[in-house]
Amino acid sequence: MTITQPSGPELADVHAITEQVWSSFLGDEEPLLPRFDAEPFFPAETVWSAAVSVHGGWTGTVTVELSSGVAQSLTRLMLAMEDEPLDDADVADAVGELVNMVGGNVKSLMPGPSALTLPVVAAGRAAHSSELTEVARFDASWHGEPVRVSVHAPQS
């Protein structure tokens, strides 16, 4: 008998996790709005992205992509900063922590035991191994700018 791993979490779970992380740390004043008609390409010219991988009972990668404006706004909110200048290290820290929380919660939903990597953050689109395919994608907008959370897993 061959046991194949579940391909990944349900889209509804990715949606719920992302909204919970968002509202806990960024408040409900400006909610994250799901976009069900999002284009396949990421509609922003300047993008921050972050990825964490899970290895073990379930293997996959979770990525978060944000427009530069969203990345900067959420960093200011998370650090409770107003007009002080932001440096890239602060933005990388905040975006990395966001994917860490989403990835950690996805890991908890999938079969274990498994390990979560530390986040990798980049100024640019997220990259993932060519062995992985996208199994869930949640598109949203915040302050009118795009946010995308994707889950990638090996093809079964």
């Binding site: 919970q20 992380v21 806990s24 740390f25 960093t75 998370m78 650090l79 409770a80 602060d90 820290d93 905040a94 990395g96 922590e97 860490n100 929380m101 990835g103 950690g104 919660n105 890991k107 908890s108 274990g112 035991p113 979560l116 990597t117 530390l118």
Partner: protein, 120 residues
């Protein structure tokens, strides 16, 4: 006044933990910070905090290894995890290593009150 050691490799998350402690009514305590498990271990031994709140996944030394090193050296400082991974498996591992609780991110001030009430 108690001393609380907050360990997380993310400065943003350390700041959020400190802010949440304040929102949960634990302001006025002396908070010290560590950016990884190795520094957490050093500060736990050197500064004798009353409580350690630690991330699990950190570079250099992770939180569970830090806790194990403390306990194997006879140090019994109350220790709780604040981590993005809240599965039953992680909670069991945390409890077996001697952690009092595991708070999963994202969290609220109420979650902090629930777990810290009897400690601080």
């Amino acid at each position: 006044m108690s001393k609380i050691l907050v360990a997380d490799d993310s400065k943003v998350m350390r700041q959020i933990v400190v802010r949440t402690l304040r929102q949960a009514g634990y302001s006025g305590h002396d908070v010290i910070e560590a950016e990884n498990g190795r520094v957490c271990l050093e500060k736990a031994l050197a500064e004798s905090p009353d409580l350690i709140l630690s991330d699990w996944n950190m570079p250099e030394m992770n939180g569970i290894d830090c806790l194990s090193a403390l306990r194997s050296g006879g140090n019994q400082t109350p220790f709780g995890f604040v981590t993005s991974e809240g599965s039953e498996e992680m909670r069991t591992r945390a409890a077996s290593a001697g952690a009092l609780f595991l708070i999963a991110k994202p969290f609220t001030a109420e979650t902090f009150q629930e777990h810290l009430g009897g400690i601080l």
